[in-house]
């Protein structure tokens, strides 16, 4: 009778390690989850069996929590909801107890643990145990490189937002508390990792997966922000990596860019993430209204961002949450005729006087769920979830990164001007005529116009030294409408209080 205790799960949705032996497709489905960790919030879609426990599932989705931390404290976005921890993000008053910070930290490390778990399950020994050899073993070893890339990608977020963080790899045991490592050490680890797997990633990966373009962009991002991460600038390495990317992907009549800016953020924007002449999106988080559903991701940037008197059906959806909206800085940065200007202003006030009022600020309509073909159609296509993919890295950003390196003294300013003019031409506004038209401040402003609401802003403002300083202000910076300077501690988020409690010996960031 004691044998009766050796029960195994009978739920057909629960899979055991040993089942992989007879179901080789499970390895691919496992890798799909490693990617899907960025796209959805759990196993049911849009909600249910969440990856992250103890928090609203939609808010704990990777892109949404990353977006919140990268955009809400900046000059691009405001959010007036009463949710616990939200006002503190817009007013830069967060503490280590802030739930959104905890959720981001948890998300990043869930993703890292997922990658590590994949790597553990696919070592040559583990594969041999499950009788996997030959072509399949070869294919899975390529999968491993993708998992390592995705791990590096999340570690980049970790050091960018939190500085010194827990360091854990596939060599650590489950439930074993990892040790904290310095930002610089992890930075070096990431460069080594990217170099080690570079040859395994294809130039033109399948839609939804990462290739060399994504890898090089991550590398370029690391170099670009190296002085923030390690104290040692690496702009020249950044410039040459950008050149490598442009050399590979920047050819054709549009220099590798999508012809029409707004189509990059609409329902069929997957066309720009499948390579080819307009393959501007170098890394993508895909969404599908039926198959890849979430309350985070682009649902948050379409439905979430619609409200007031907007007719949501004009943007391809049938609901609006009156969530994030623009700051006046963002709206005012555009000159007339800039096709990148995408705001809805009816009934709204351009100024952000009342933080809690959605209509104190313009709604942002950059992300839509319209098809590029029926843009001006009157027949409405309205769905509760969008098909719109989220672009993680775009070639346009590569051009701007190169320009920034050049103006920091590590590249060709004429070439920089040419690159920036690609973007301004597409936007339908005047081009720069002389290299002296361009300054670093101008590049920062152009980055906002080109890349707003794509999750880059906090990192950019910090690199330019204006995230906390009093020299550049926006509404509600520091908790006042006119804006004020912040303590420099806010350049990093605190290590969440829950992590400090769970992992003895973890050092809190300075000032928290």
């Amino acid at each position: 009778c004691l044998g009766d205790l050796d029960l195994k799960p009978i739920d057909k949705n629960l899979i055991q390690d040993s089942d992989f032996k007879s179901h080789h497709e499970y390895y691919t489905q496992f890798l799909a989850k490693v990617y899907a960790g960025l796209a959805v919030s759990g196993q049911e879609g849009p909600a249910g069996k969440p990856d992250i426990e103890g928090f609203d599932e939609g808010m704990a989705q990777y892109i949404r929590s990353y977006w919140n931390l990268q955009e809400l404290p900046t000059d691009e976005a405001l959010l007036g909801w009463n949710d616990a921890g939200v006002p503190e993000l817009s007013t830069s008053k967060w503490s280590a107890a802030n739930g959104f910070i905890y959720v981001m930290y948890s998300r990043i490390f869930f993703q890292i643990a997922l990658c590590n778990s994949f790597l553990k399950a696919t070592t040559p020994q583990a594969l041999a145990q499950n009788n996997i050899t030959g072509e399949l073993a070869e294919q899975i070893s390529k999968y491993r490189s993708e998992a390592r890339f995705l791990r590096a990608f999340s570690y980049w977020h970790a050091i960018d937002m939190f500085g010194n963080v827990a360091f854990v790899t596939e060599n650590d045991q489950i439930m074993e508390a990892p040790k904290q490592k310095s930002r610089a050490e992890i930075f070096q680890f990431l460069l080594n990792e990217l170099n080690a797997i570079e040859n395994d990633l294809p130039v033109n990966p399948e839609y939804g997966r990462a290739g060399k373009g994504a890898l090089w962009m991550l590398k370029a991002k690391l170099y670009l922000n190296a002085s923030v991460y390690t104290g040692t600038p690496m702009y020249s390495e950044c410039a040459s990596t950008c050149q490598q990317i442009i050399g590979q992907y920047g050819s054709g009549t549009n220099h590798g860019l999508a012809q029409t800016y707004k189509f990059l953020f609409c329902a069929d924007n997957d066309q720009f993430a499948r390579g080819g002449e307009q393959g501007e999106i170098l890394m993508v988080v895909p969404y599908d209204r039926d198959r890849t559903r979430t309350y985070g991701g682009t649902t948050y940037l379409t439905i979430g961002a619609y409200g007031g008197t907007m007719i949501k059906e004009n943007y391809g959806v049938n609901d609006g949450w009156a969530g994030p909206r623009s700051t006046s800085n963002l709206v005012k940065s555009f000159e007339d005729g800039d096709s990148r200007y995408a705001f809805y202003s009816d009934g709204a006030n351009i100024e952000n006087t009342d933080l809690g009022n959605f209509q104190d600020g313009f709604a942002v309509t950059k992300f839509t769920n319209l098809l590029s073909t029926d843009w001006e159609n009157t027949s409405k296509r309205a769905y509760p979830y969008p098909d719109t993919d989220f672009p993680i890295f775009r070639l346009a950003d590569t051009y701007l990164m190169y320009a920034e390196c050049a103006y920091r003294g590590y590249g060709d300013q004429n070439l920089a001007k040419t690159y920036m003019n690609y973007l301004r031409t597409r936007a339908g506004i005047s081009t720069y005529t002389s290299t002296t038209d361009i300054t670093l401040d101008e590049i920062l402003a152009e980055r906002m116009r080109e890349l707003y609401w794509e999750g880059h802003r906090r990192t950019d403002l910090i690199r330019f030294g204006v995230f906390t300083s009093g020299s550049y202000l926006w509404a509600w910076k520091g908790g006042v409408l006119t804006g004020k300077s912040l303590e420099t501690k806010y350049n990093l988020y605190p290590i969440p209080a829950k992590e400090i409690a769970a992992n003895p010996g973890t050092q809190q960031n300075y000032g928290y």
Binding site: L2, F30, I52, S106, L114, G320
Partner: protein
């Protein structure tokens, strides 16, 4: 001169009594009867023989030189009444060494309760029953001496006729005890301390409630019929602004040319009146009990129809039960067979209508003539397009009328218990108990096509849907034990030894199938299946010396399939000592006034493994994703495979309890009572805590960490101040104090660490309670409100507790708890001639409630949303501009005194030639509550007052007929 005496011992049915003791009075020599009830003994010819057997009245018969003496032993009804079930056996109440209380529902207000929980309310100190609002088929949260766990269940183990039942819910049935109609309950035994509960080892940390149902009695059939009819109505409603007041407020706050003002309607709707109602319910119970030849039987059937005061809520329950208790082979084999069946049909309302009715705009009508969308129910639509505003609240009436949630549950619980006295050794009994509990549920949740909610949920396109929930649950049990019971008179000792084995398996599976209406087009399916195995070995030794010194030792080894091979066994010992001081020679002088005086001392360890829905928390498993959460590689979408978090080393939670108690009775038992002190510490709490980042495949996991302490005193007293042949007065009072404190929560012992709990309505993720070391569980964590000189709260101004000039998380104060410190109850019952009159009162002290109704419905910014809708405010508003959820202004002392019921009855004892007994009674349930708390009802289990289904006042008229 010694002679040989022989004879036969029979019971009143003429059956031999096997194993009866035959003792020569004043000596240690004796014998026991054999399988035919015969005995033989040598004794002095002028001595006296004493015949005794458990459950029978002893007889002393002088030999007077006779060679044959046969006796008939009468069942000792009084002694039987004092026998209490203690798990795998019974014990005479006076010999119990643990904190054990027996509650007999017949002693309470007959016929009024519709659920078993009702019968326990206020009956014994240390048992707090919070009925979950006023909904039909309401379950109740039962807590015995406070909770011993933070995350694992805190429900006591419930054992019905020897079958431990699964506490976790059954789909379509909100109360696991619905199974047992109160009329069928013979007794509850509540095991409170570990020395009593440890025999149930792994599941006993939160106490055990043993329910014994009524059995057939000897004699001619007795027919019992109860019926009652009741009318329920709401006691009070939440004060809100009426339509005119609301119009005035909108004008004041936004001006008459504002968009908000344009949204106002012309109606004058009292939404609470629209969703609430006064209803009639009825309850019938028929039972027949008696003995047919050798077969004592009892059959009963009940029908209950209960309608809730929230429209569309109702419960229809039919139960049937059969109990057979024959004895075979000269009474050596006792069979106890019980089968219970239940069919229940519940109609659940969408309870969001309760909160919705408080805040919905009173100037809008329930229905808009000619409006097609939303089936004519008023909905918030965009002014310019007529499109639905997705984030606007829904018409509360439509939530009730335009969707339906109906369940049908069939459940059966049964067991057969065989108790066999070994013919070769009558002191030894073997007991086998086979039991089952099976339920099958179906529930249909429908959103009708074009109903308002179909524009807010799921596809948001006005498409109706049917959700079909199916569930099968099965719980099988096998218990076997041997019991050896002997009197060693030579050494003044009684010994009882019991050892046994238990096997219990739980299984469940189910599905949720969602289809679209009206064409039943499939949309999505979810399925689940789980099982759990428990195995146990257990034993108990009861030793009594000189009927004065008692010792009980129990040991249980428990294993669960929930933990890994290395951690699945747990050992749970307990020791209890009792001292019947009353039997000491030095008590002789007071023996005529004092009836009982017993000191009890107990120690024991119990366990816990019941962690919600996680059946394999130690195992690395992958969960298969749904097609709606799939991921594309190229154009092919893959259902994803996620490795789940797990703790390979998860093990038993252990609770250690100390108990000291004193039982007393004097003046012919006219006054009796008991006093208990306990100290209970739970270690290796199975808590859901954050894991170090990256160390597991989740951010929070169930693992063994943390400690919790409960300490308390309990006192109960009952008395009969007046007993004459015309007038009897019974009084009962009990009081319990419990203090709960968390002593450890995490590995780093970080003093600032806390776990936020207690989510509220308003914003997402806002919590108002926390667990923190050094404080009671579920303490409130809020800012300390600052008040102006007139005592009004100043919006957004809080005490800077750490004095750093900034108001942030660090300034929140951990203060008070949801749990009452002191719980009291008082019952009185008078009988004068044929009249009876009784009432019961109950009080909780020191419990605090966060008034979420107030914090969420009283700020001016809430009245208008720029998406194009309005919200009403409650009358006891705060005049705040914006919601201030984190202010302790909303935290209130919710101590209360509640009258649970008042009953008046009249009984005719001698109708139809003395054969018929009839009682007519009337009762009021929940007539009044005295409290300073301003919300609807201060009794809120979670401590967060928000959308609680209001408890009605019920007027009841009933009849009981016994034939």
């Amino acid at each position: 001169q010694r002679i040989k005496v022989h004879g036969n011992v029979k019971d009143s049915y003429g059956e031999p009594v096997v194993g009866a003791n035959v003792i020569v009075k004043g000596t240690t020599s004796g014998t026991v009867t054999d399988i035919d009830g015969n005995y033989q003994i040598e004794a002095p010819k002028d001595s006296t023989l004493i015949f005794s057997f458990v459950g029978y009245i002893s007889q002393s018969i002088p030999i007077k030189n006779r060679a044959e003496i046969s006796v008939i032993l009468e069942e000792d009804v009084i002694t039987l009444g004092e026998v209490v079930a203690i798990g795998y056996g019974t014990v005479k109440k006076s010999d119990a060494t643990g904190a054990v209380t027996q509650v007999k529902p017949d002693e309470i207000n007959k016929g009024m309760a519709t659920s078993a929980q009702d019968l326990l309310v206020g009956q014994t100190p240390g048992v707090v029953v919070t009925l979950t609002g006023g909904k039909p088929e309401a379950g109740g949260e039962i807590r015995i001496r406070g909770g011993s766990s933070l995350n694992a269940t805190n429900d006591p183990l419930i054992v019905i006729d020897g079958v431990p039942v699964d506490n976790s819910g059954v789909t379509g049935m909100s109360n696991p005890l619905s199974m047992i109609p109160p009329d069928n309950i013979e007794s509850f035994t509540i095991l409170k301390d570990a020395s009593a509960t440890a025999i149930y080892g792994s599941r006993a940390s939160n106490g055990v409630i043993i329910i014994t149902t009524k059995k057939g009695m000897s004699g001619k059939p007795q027919i019992n019929f109860n019926a009652n009819m009741s009318v329920s109505t709401s006691r009070r409603t939440t004060g809100v602004l009426n339509a005119d007041e609301f119009r005035r407020l909108i004008a004041e706050q936004t001006g008459t040319s504002s968009q908000a003002y344009q949204l106002l309607g012309n109606a004058n709707t009292n939404w609470q009146d629209e969703v609430l109602r006064t209803t009639v319910s009825s309850d019938y119970n028929l039972s027949v009990g008696g003995q047919y030849k050798i077969l004592p039987y009892r059959v009963s059937a009940t029908f209950t129809n209960q309608n809730g005061i929230l429209k569309t809520s109702s419960m229809n329950r039919t139960t049937a039960s059969i109990s057979l208790t024959p004895k075979f082979f000269n009474n050596t084999l006792s069979v106890n067979m019980n089968v219970k069946g239940l069919y229940i049909r519940n109609e659940f309302p969408d309870e969001a209508a309760i909160g919705g009715a408080v805040s919905f705009d009173p100037t809008q009508p329930v229905k808009v003539p000619g409006q097609e969308i939303g089936n004519g129910y008023f909905m918030w639509l965009q002014q310019n397009t007529g499109a639905v505003i997705g984030i606007a609240p829904l018409n509360p009436v439509s939530l009730l009328d335009d969707r339906s949630m109906i369940s049908h549950v069939y459940r059966s619980l049964g067991n057969i218990q065989l108790d066999y006295i070994m013919p070769f050794l009558p002191e030894l009994r073997a007991n086998l108990n086979l039991g089952y509990d099976v339920s099958k549920s179906r529930q249909w949740n429908k959103m009708f096509p074009n109903s308002p909610i179909t524009y807010k949920e799921n596809k948001k396109l006005g498409i109706g849907q049917t959700e079909t929930l199916k569930q099968l649950k099965r719980n099988q049990l096998l218990d076997f034990y041997l019991n050896y019971n002997n009197d060693f008179r030579q050494i003044y000792s009684k010994v009882e030894v019991m050892a046994g084995y238990s096997w219990q398996k739980f299984y469940k599976d189910g599905s949720t199938i969602t289809t679209l209406m009206p064409d039943n087009e499939p949309w999505y399916d979810k399925t689940y299946a789980d099982h759990l195995q428990l195995l146990s070995f257990f034993g108990r030794i009861n030793y009594t010396f000189k009927d004065t010194y008692l010792l009980t030792f129990t040991l249980r080894g428990d294993a669960t399939s929930r933990f890994s091979k290395d951690h699945r066994w747990g050992t749970f010992p307990a020791l209890a000592l009792g001292w019947k001081i009353i039997n000491e020679p030095f008590m002789q002088p007071v023996a005529n006034v004092m009836n009982e005086l017993k000191l009890r001392l107990g120690y024991g360890i119990t366990g816990q493994q019941d962690i919600s829905d996680n059946y394999f928390p130690y195992m690395p498993l992958y969960s298969m994703g749904f097609p709606t959460a799939s991921y594309p590689f190229g154009d092919r979408y893959y259902n994803t495979l996620r490795p789940n978090g797990y703790d390979p080393n998860i093990k038993w939670e252990e609770t250690t309890t100390w108990n000291i108690g004193l039982d007393f009775a004097f003046l012919d038992n006219r006054i009796s009572g008991s006093f208990d002190y306990y100290y209970r510490e739970t270690n290796d709490l199975i808590s859901r805590i954050p894991v170090p980042a990256g160390s597991n495949l989740t951010n929070e996991i169930y693992t063994n960490i943390g400690s919790l302490r409960n300490e308390g005193v309990e006192f109960s007293i009952s008395s009969k101040p007046i007993v004459t042949n015309k007038f009897i007065w019974d009084l009962g009072f009990n009081i319990a104090y419990n203090s709960n404190k968390i002593t450890k929560l995490n590995k780093s012992n970080d003093a600032d660490y806390y776990i936020p709990v207690g989510g509220i309505s308003g914003g997402t993720g806002n919590t108002v309670q926390a667990h923190k070391v050094g404080y009671p569980a579920f303490s409130y964590l809020l800012y300390e409100q600052v008040y102006d000189k007139d005592g009004n709260p100043i919006e957004g101004l809080y005490v800077d507790r750490n004095g750093d000039g900034v108001i942030d998380e660090a300034d929140k104060r951990l203060y008070k708890s949801r749990d009452p410190k002191v719980v009291m109850s008082f019952t009185s019952r008078m009988e004068y001639k044929n009249f009876d009159f009784g009432f019961s009162l109950r009080a909780n002290l020191g419990n605090y409630v966060y008034d979420n109704v107030q914090s969420n419905n009283s700020s001016y910014s809430a009245i208008y949303n720029s998406a194009g809708y309005l919200n009403n405010l409650i009358s006891r508003g705060t005049k705040f501009q914006n919601p201030q959820y984190m202010s302790d202004y909303y935290l209130h002392n919710a101590g209360f005194l509640r009258c649970d019921n008042i009953t008046l009855g009249y009984t005719w004892n001698e109708l139809v030639q003395n054969k018929l007994k009839l009682r007519l009674y009337g009762a009021v349930q929940n007539p009044f509550v005295i409290t300073k708390y301003k919300g609807l009802d201060p009794e809120v289990f979670s401590g967060i007052d928000n959308n609680v289904y209001p408890r009605p006042v019920t007027f009841l008229l009933g009849v009981i007929i016994t034939y």
